[in-house]
């Protein structure tokens, strides 16, 4: 074994790896290798996140093949070294389980194929996996041929709206002007979404290569990656990758002796959600306040500093090299209808496996959630709805679980494909509260320029809040529908146009929950605190008195051999007693 230099220890070291403590795990491995005198046999590789949350993931590759460990803590490292690296056996305690296998086996990983597999700081590893081969191939063809290939592939923008990428490229190419730009929209702002971050951290060259190809096709000589400053690791990896690509001649002047030159810059955004909107994003790059401007003119005609500008999202650009290498036909063979290829989702909420999931378009929601997602997190919890598309998207109920994941089918439901946020909710989630949560978000993130978004969302938020307080009326429902439609139709940009969707879809699919809040002044999911009364169920109460000391507001009275009682006037509904009660006697 010791002769083989190819033995690798892969440690997931993206942002989620870092937060789980991958640094300590890595240094423990280094220590173990050193102490055991086997450091020359093993190569430790800090790879990007693979997309599944299992604390630190460690994969060990040697002549016996590949073994995955999950939930690896620094304390486990000596055990792994002992049994696996030296002993030739397995460290069973941390062996990845069935859920892990299930999660990855049920995906089609194309965009994510390098994430968690290669060291993003080493360009050779990228090149070994056909990196920059697509750029070479593209430079051997004419820009028009490249555009044709992208058009034929049917690739649509992965940022949300789903505009045909090839058309955008063609518009930019055909726009008049010699100075043009390519911009990568890496301002991933949906709560809970991190597809772009993982790609940038784990496989930055795929985006750089996509941009260079886009630049060549569109006739642009310069590109900007607009990345939020909250992604420091992604920015670090990008900077490193850009300098390596420049060194290897994949960026800069006369790339691969083709005569094509392309420079790449990173622009850090300050974290305004609206800057993901393309015109606001361009304003931000120019140093102005990130506020959208009406289109037309579209950026492809008049973009950055008034020059034609091609804007694509990270995932869109990461798809490009695969299309160029494998052909449009290969790409369009995946997917359904007018939605081709795969889509990455950030699966979150009450599912067993949360993380990044890449599936072919046309997969049903059910197959995704109960496939790689592994179903509901807890056996007894029941699926209630799934929010797709983040704050711009909609909330779909169980009877729409067989909806195919493609642009048209999702739009028909009132949700959108969006950039890939997917939050699964069980019966413990109150849909009115969910609607309020997303409104809180969009109210806070509205740029303030146009009236419907700035004021309309605020008024809607106030009304939804009243409903959660038990002060809702029938006219509030009418108001929400009416105002929601006005905002949807009249807001200036995509943020405003889609912001009412969470309310409109919950009204459409979970009308009964609104009705319960208004007619019965109750919250069926026991979430809206103002509608709850904390009471002791005397059939379940065992008179143990454990609830008494945890109550911070002295609302509980209890004496030995008596049922506990809750004083409603004093209760602040903090739930401390519910958590404490071993018999679930407080409701």
């Amino acid at each position: 074994m010791s002769e083989n230099k190819k033995n690798r220890i892969l440690i997931c070291s993206g942002t989620s790896g870092v937060s789980a403590g991958c640094g300590k795990v890595r240094s423990r491995f280094e220590e173990e290798l050193r102490n055991r005198g086997i450091e020359s046999d093993w190569e430790i590789v800090s790879v990007g996140d693979r997309g599944l949350f299992r604390d630190v993931l460690v994969d060990i590759m040697d002549s016996r093949g590949r073994v995955s460990y999950e939930y690896v803590s620094p304390e486990d490292v000596s055990g792994i070294a002992e049994s696996h690296l030296v002993g030739g056996g397995l460290f069973n305690e941390r062996l990845a389980g069935d859920d892990y296998k299930n999660f990855f086996e049920k995906q089609t990983r194309i965009v994510l194929s390098n994430c968690g597999e290669i060291d993003p700081d080493k360009i050779d590893e990228y090149i070994e996996r056909q990196g920059y081969a697509a750029l070479k191939k593209a430079l051997d063809s004419s820009p028009e041929e490249v555009i044709e290939e992208i058009k034929d592939s049917g690739l649509r923008g992965r940022g949300g709206a789903g505009f045909l990428a090839g058309l955008k490229w063609e518009f930019t190419r055909n726009a008049s002007g010699s100075e043009k730009y390519v911009v990568c929209n890496a301002d991933e702002g949906d709560p809970g979404a991190f597809m772009d971050r993982s790609i940038l951290e784990g496989d930055p060259h795929s985006v750089i290569e996509g941009m260079a190809i886009a630049g060549y096709a569109a006739g642009a000589g310069e590109g900007f990656i607009y990345c939020r400053a909250e992604y420091p690791l992604a920015i670090k990896k990008l900077k490193k990758a850009i300098s390596l690509a420049e060194k290897e001649g994949f960026l800069g002047d006369n790339i691969l002796s083709s005569g094509f030159s392309f420079r790449l810059n990173i622009k850090e955004g300050a974290g305004a959600f609206v800057c993901g909107e393309e015109t606001a994003l361009l304003a931000s790059i120019e140093g102005r306040r990130g506020m959208p401007v009406p289109r037309p003119p579209f950026p492809a005609v008049e973009g950055l500093w008034g020059k034609p500008t091609l804007i694509n999202n990270v995932e869109t650009l990461a798809n490009v090299r695969h299309i160029i290498l494998n052909g449009a036909k290969w790409f369009s063979s995946m997917g359904s209808g007018d939605s081709k290829g795969t889509k990455v989702f950030a699966l979150a909420g009450k599912v067993k496996n949360t993380g990044l999931v890449e599936v072919p378009m046309g997969t049903t929601l059910r197959d995704l959630i109960f496939g790689p997602g592994g179903g509901m997190a807890e056996r007894k919890s029941e699926f209630k709805g799934v929010q797709i598309g983040g704050p711009s998207g909609g909330c779909l109920p169980e009877d729409l679980l067989d909806t195919s994941i493609d642009y048209e089918s999702l739009n028909a439901t009132g949700a959108i494909m969006g950039s890939g946020g997917m939050i699964v909710m069980d019966t413990g989630s109150c849909m009115v509260d969910i609607a309020k949560f997303f409104l809180d978000f969009t109210v806070a993130e509205s740029c303030g320029k146009c009236v419907p978004c700035r004021v309309g969302l605020k008024r809607m938020q106030e009304v939804v809040e009243l409903i959660t307080y038990g002060k809702g009326t029938d006219s509030h429902i009418d108001f929400l529908r009416d105002m929601g439609n006005t905002i949807k139709n009249t807001a200036l940009c995509g943020l405003g146009n889609t912001a009412p969707s969470p309310v409109l879809t919950t009204l459409r699919y979970f009308d009964d929950e609104y009705r319960a809040h208004i007619d019965r002044r109750s919250c069926p999911s026991l979430v809206c605190i103002d509608l709850l009364n904390f009471e002791v169920n005397e059939e379940l109460c065992k008179k143990c008195g454990k609830c008494l000391p945890v109550c911070p507001s002295d609302a509980i009275s209890w004496r030995k051999k008596e049922f506990a009682r809750i004083d409603k006037d004093k209760c602040i509904k903090c739930r401390a007693c519910i958590v404490e009660c071993p018999f679930k006697a407080i409701e």
Binding site: P294, C447, K458, V463
Partner: protein
């Protein structure tokens, strides 16, 4: 041209027009608030939504360009409903009391104010109103964030002072870091105020809608003669001195005289006073007169001879101004002057250190060179004779040179002199008898002039006795300042009550005064303090407590109760057919510029009387197309007023040389650059307002 259909109506529009512009032009009103014809569109208020056949949903008509064959619907149930919702949202953030003259109010009325949400009450934002800046207030509680001010400031004026601060519902229009306007490089052009549709930005001094110029361009509009100060200051700033002089010349024949001695009401009202100090408009006028070329002479057009003869009595500023304009209109004008040289008070009342005689002579010579005849040494007493000699009209501009007396004991002493007489004597180089310690009674410009002249004529000391305080002094502030610098002493709240002679000296008994209640003119009346009498000794005493109009003996019937000639203020017509009057002879002692105003009015009125149009003005300088861009300049608000270089204090009293040296070019350019360009605001287009609904107009 593009052909399109709006609400079924076939219209043609310029290819660069937006749908909104095309509709407005065709008389189809679409409600709008963030649109303004002078500013790039924003699409912020969303009121101007329309639907376009073949398009999805609605679009804002202010941002969509017209296309051939386009079919636009501006109003249907769906659009109306959405508009009402948007309007309700806009109003839901505002106080109830919206200014009824504002565009917002009118648009709201037109669109229809409906209550969309039951039991909703507007929530006051309680943002502190910014009142501490000069000239205008900012009340963000009333702001609808249409962004017109921001775009005006950033994109048109390019001053970049106002921007958006905060986001979402908390967005406000602010300066960077909320700093005061002056610290934010504001140029106070107030274009932002002009385009604000909601009353969030408002002038501190609200203009009268019937005459906005009066408040908004106060320099020009407070000039009695309406010299376009705003225009010539701007021209000086552009280095166009020749054109600047021509602008002054369009209105008055005494640019340089005024540049030396005008009491500049323009500066008193200058809006820059509210920021730091007024523009030195008088000094700039003098600069233009000195630096501007003589091209205006070639441009003056003397109209063909009308065959009419006009007599002007008195060659002061009123008489000569009337003569100048009447002569230009083709009349034959003769000016009769009782004194030995023309100029009136400009010569006999204003000392040479304030108005060098060569300046006066030159401008009078200009008047004569275009054909005005001046006959000096002729005192007109009888107007009948003038008419008999063939004059068709007479303009009486005989001034006010009769000194008023105090009526106190000992006033007839030969050592008690008349102030205005002393100035006249100095001017004609006669001996004044001023020596030793000279006391002057009065608080006006004449008193100051006499005191300062006394120091230049051999007096050792000059003391002004004035019965009120400095605040009430009618003399120009800068004159008082100069007098004090030259060593003139002023005793305030002091009045002589008796003059006794004691050998060489005059013993002037004075009484101390205190200020009582304001009189009809608003000045506080002096009240003697009993028992405070004291004696003040002086070699000479000059009376400068005012003059009375000098009216020819034969015109006694034209006089009113207090001795002035009674005229109609609009036409300057007296009660005698063909006789007009103006200047000090009508008003009592006033200013050169007011005399010029009267001369202009009289010229116009006389021309009409003789059958002309009364239009006396001739355009000399071509109108400039003013650039709406001002650019950014840090510290603009703090630029100090140019200081007039003065003759050294000690040298001053040694002669009658001009005290003010005139602004050097660099300072003049800088000074003109301090101008707020108030007139620019008047050039801003009006925002389109909704047509008045029938129910409203009825």
């Amino acid at each position: 041209m593009i052909n399109l259909k709006i609400d079924g109506k076939e219209i043609k529009a310029h290819p660069s027009a937006t749908v909104l512009e095309a509709a407005l032009q065709a008389g189809i009103y679409i409600p709008n608030l963030c649109y303004h014809p002078d500013i790039p569109p924003a699409g912020a208020c969303r009121l101007c939504i329309v639907s376009i056949k073949g398009g999805r949903g609605v679009v804002t008509s202010c941002t969509v360009k017209v296309r051939e064959g386009m079919e636009v619907t501006t109003n249907n149930d769906e659009i109306r409903k959405m508009r009402e919702n948007i309007l309700w949202l806009t109003l839901s953030e505002l106080p109830e009391d919206i200014d009824e003259t504002s565009q917002l109010y009118k648009v709201a009325r037109w669109t229809g104010i409906k209550n969309i949400l039951e039991n909703y009450s507007r929530k006051p934002k309680n943002i502190p109103v910014k009142t501490e800046d000069p000239l205008f207030i900012r009340d963000m509680n009333r702001c609808i964030l249409c962004g017109r001010c921001v775009r005006m400031c950033r994109d048109i004026r390019k001053t970049g002072v106002l921007g958006f601060s905060g986001r979402g519902i908390d967005t406000t229009v602010e300066t960077a870091y909320g700093m005061p306007l002056a610290d934010s490089a504001c140029k106070f052009c107030e274009a932002c105020v002009e385009v604000c549709p909601s009353g969030a930005l408002e002038d501190k001094r609200k203009p009268d809608p019937s005459c906005r110029e009066k408040t908004l361009v106060p320099c020009t509009n407070n000039c009695p003669a309406k010299i376009d100060a705003a225009r010539y200051v701007k021209l000086i700033a552009l280095g166009k001195y020749r054109e600047a002089l021509e602008v002054v010349r369009e209105t008055v024949p005494f640019p340089e005289v005024l540049g030396h001695v005008c009491d500049h009401p323009c500066e008193e009202e200058c809006r820059r006073n509210d920021i730091n100090e007024a523009i030195a408009i008088r000094s700039l006028k003098r600069f233009a007169a000195e630096k501007g070329s003589d091209r205006w002479r070639d441009k003056i057009k003397i109209l063909p001879d009308t065959g009419k003869k006009i007599a002007v009595v008195g060659a002061g500023p009123a008489g000569l101004t009337a003569a100048w304009f009447l002569n230009r209109l083709g009349h034959s004008v003769t000016v009769f002057e009782a004194g030995s040289s023309p100029g009136g008070m400009m010569r006999t009342g204003i000392p040479a250190y304030r108005l060098p005689r060569d300046v006066l002579d030159r401008e009078i010579k200009d008047i004569v060179s275009f054909g005005v005849k001046i006959k000096t040494g002729i005192k007109i007493e009888n107007l009948e004779e003038l008419f008999k000699e063939g004059f068709s009209a007479v303009f009486l501009a005989t001034g006010a040179s009769e000194t008023m007396t105090m009526g106190i004991e000992g006033e007839d002493d030969t050592r008690v002199l008349q102030g205005i007489g002393v100035l006249g004597d100095i001017s004609s180089k006669k001996d004044t008898g001023l020596k030793g310690k000279v006391a002057v009674v009065g608080g006006g410009n004449v008193a100051i002039d006499v005191a300062r002249s006394a120091l230049r004529s051999g007096a050792e000391k000059a003391v002004i006795l004035y019965r009120r305080t400095r605040e009430e002094m009618p003399a120009l502030e800068e004159e008082v300042e100069d007098a004090l610098k030259e060593g003139v002493e002023i005793r305030f709240l002091t009045a002589p009550v008796k003059i006794a002679s004691s050998g060489e000296n005059l013993k002037i008994e004075c009484i101390k005064m205190k200020l009582g209640k304001p009189d009809s003119g608003g000045r506080r009346r002096p009240v003697p303090i009993e028992g405070s009498e004291y004696v003040f000794e002086a070699d000479r005493l000059a009376m400068a407590i005012g003059q009375k109009p000098s009216v020819p003996g034969g015109c006694a019937s034209l006089k009113n109760d207090w001795g002035g000639i009674e005229v109609d203020g609009g036409t300057m017509k007296s009660s005698m057919e063909g006789v007009f009057a103006g200047g000090d002879a009508v008003s009592g002692p006033a200013s050169v510029i007011k005399a010029i105003r009267d001369g202009r009015k009289a010229a116009s009125s006389i021309d009409r009387y003789l059958g002309g149009s009364g239009d006396i003005d001739q355009k000399l300088a071509r109108d400039e197309t003013e650039m709406p861009c001002l650019g950014r300049e840090e510290g603009f608000a703090f630029r100090a007023r140019a200081e007039m270089p003065l003759l050294d204090g000690k040298k001053r009293t040694a002669s009658f040389c001009a005290v003010e040296k005139g602004l050097p070019e660099k300072e003049a350019l800088e000074e003109a650059g301090r101008c707020l360009s108030c007139a620019l605001r008047l050039g801003i287009s009006e925002a389109p307002e909704p047509p008045v609904k029938e129910e409203d107009s009825g």
